[in-house]
Symmetry: C2
Subunit: 192 residues, 2 copies
DNA sequence: CAGGGCCGTTAGCGGTCGTTAACCTGAGCT
DNA sequence: AGCTCAGGTTAACGACCGCTAACGGCCCTG
C-alpha cells in the first residue's frame, strides 16, 4: 500500500470540480456538460455517479456541514473546561476550513435554497448545531450578554471569516493570523 | 405637490422586486415572468422598461456601488481630519445600508459575475474606490500595519457587516449597535 | 375628436438545459 | 472463451426561458 493519499475516486473528482464551478458561476449557471468536461467525460456520463445535478449540490452541502460540525465538536471536547481555549480552537478550525475550501464556503451560504426540502432541512439542522457550539462557548466567556446578541455576533464573525473568497493575496500564514486576530477582536468587543 | 415621498415609478417597483427575487433565488433562478408577476404585469411587459433581464441586474449593481461610494465620500469629507470619527461614520453608514437594503447587499457580492464585461468593470471600479476610502482611514489609525493587511481586514469587516441577511431577529437598534461594536472591535485588534 | 405615444397584452420562436434511452467497450471472474 | 457489469458514448426528448412580434386600449394633446 502506498504512503501517499489514495487517488481521488471519480465521484470525488466530480464533486470537487462541481464545487469549483458552482462557486464561480452559481448552481443554475453551470450545466452538466460543463461539469462533465471538467473531469474529462461528457454530461450524461455523470449520471453513472449521481442521481442528478441536485444530488451533487446536496452531497456537497451536507458534506461541508457535517465536516464543520464534527470538527467543531472535536475541538470543543479537546479543550473542554477552558472556554478561552475552546473559542480559539473553533476560530482556528474555521479559519483553516475557510482558507482550504473557499469554494465550499461560498456555496454553503449561497446555494442552500436550491436544495430539496429534505436536504435543506438537514443542512440547516447541522448548521444550527454548529452555531450552537460557538454560542455556548461565547456565552461562557461573556455571561452578561444576551443569547440573541451572542447569536448575531457569531453569525457576524462567520461572515468575517468567510470573507476569504474576496481577499487580496497576503500569504497563507499572515492571512490566518490576521483573521484570527480580527475574530478575537470582534468577540472581545461584546462586553465593552 | 405632496409632502409624502413620491410614489415609486414602475421602473423602481420592478427594480425593487427584481432585487428581492434575485437575492432569494439567484439571478438565473428567477424568470422574467416571475418578476413581472411581482409588480402585477406579465413577463414581456418588462421590456417596455428595461432592455433585458441583464439590464436590471446591471442597474441594480451599479446603483448600489454608486450609492455606497457617494455616501462614503460624503462621510469622509464631513469628518475630515479626525480619522476616528471618519471610521465610525463609515461603519455607521455601512451598517445602515446593510440593514436597509439586505437584498442589494446580497446581490452585490453574489451576482457580480453575471454582468457583461463593461458593467462588471464599472462596478468593480466603484467597489475598489469605496474600499480605498476605508483603507486610507484605517491606515491613518494604524500606521504600523501594512497596506495589504489593512485591505484584507477591510474586506473581512465588510463580510461581518454584510452578514445581515442571516441574522436572527434582535430589533433594529440593538442590531445596529452590536454590528458597530463588533466592527470597531475587529479593527481595534489590528494593532494588538 | 383625431392621432400618437405609453404601456400593457398574448402567441410563439429559438436556444438551452436536465434527463433518459439505447448502445458500446474493456476488465475481471468463472 | 464467454458473461457480467461498471462506466462510458451519442441522440433525442420535453420543459423552460429570454426575447420579439403583433396587436390593443388609454390618455394626453392640438
Amino acid at each position: 500500500m502506498s504512503i501517499r493519499a489514495a487517488a481521488p475516486t471519480r465521484r470525488e473528482q466530480i464533486l470537487s470540480e462541481a464545487a469549483r464551478l458552482f462557486a464561480a458561476r452559481g448552481f443554475h449557471g453551470v450545466g452538466v456538460d460543463e461539469i462533465g468536461a471538467a473531469v474529462g467525460i461528457s454530461g450524461p456520463g455523470l449520471y453513472r455517479h449521481f442521481a442528478g445535478k441536485d444530488a451533487m449540490l446536496a452531497e456537497l452541502l451536507v458534506g461541508i456541514s457535517e465536516r464543520l460540525l464534527t470538527g467543531g465538536r472535536h475541538r470543543v471536547a479537546e479543550a473542554a473546561g477552558d472556554p478561552g481555549r475552546v473559542l480559539s480552537s473553533l476560530i482556528d478550525g474555521h479559519v483553516d476550513f475557510a482558507l482550504d475550501d473557499q469554494a465550499l464556503i461560498t456555496l454553503h451560504d449561497r446555494e442552500l435554497d436550491r436544495l430539496r426540502e429534505a436536504d435543506r432541512k438537514l443542512v440547516r439542522q447541522l448548521q444550527r448545531q454548529y452555531v450552537e457550539l460557538w454560542v455556548e462557548v461565547v456565552r461562557e466567556l461573556h455571561p452578561e450578554v444576551g443569547e440573541a446578541e451572542v447569536r448575531v455576533a457569531v453569525h457576524a464573525v462567520f461572515g468575517l471569516l468567510n470573507s476569504t473568497p474576496h481577499l487580496a493575496a497576503l500569504g497563507r500564514e499572515a492571512t490566518e493570523s490576521l483573521l484570527r486576530r480580527l475574530a478575537h477582536g470582534a468577540f472581545g468587543a461584546l462586553s465593552a
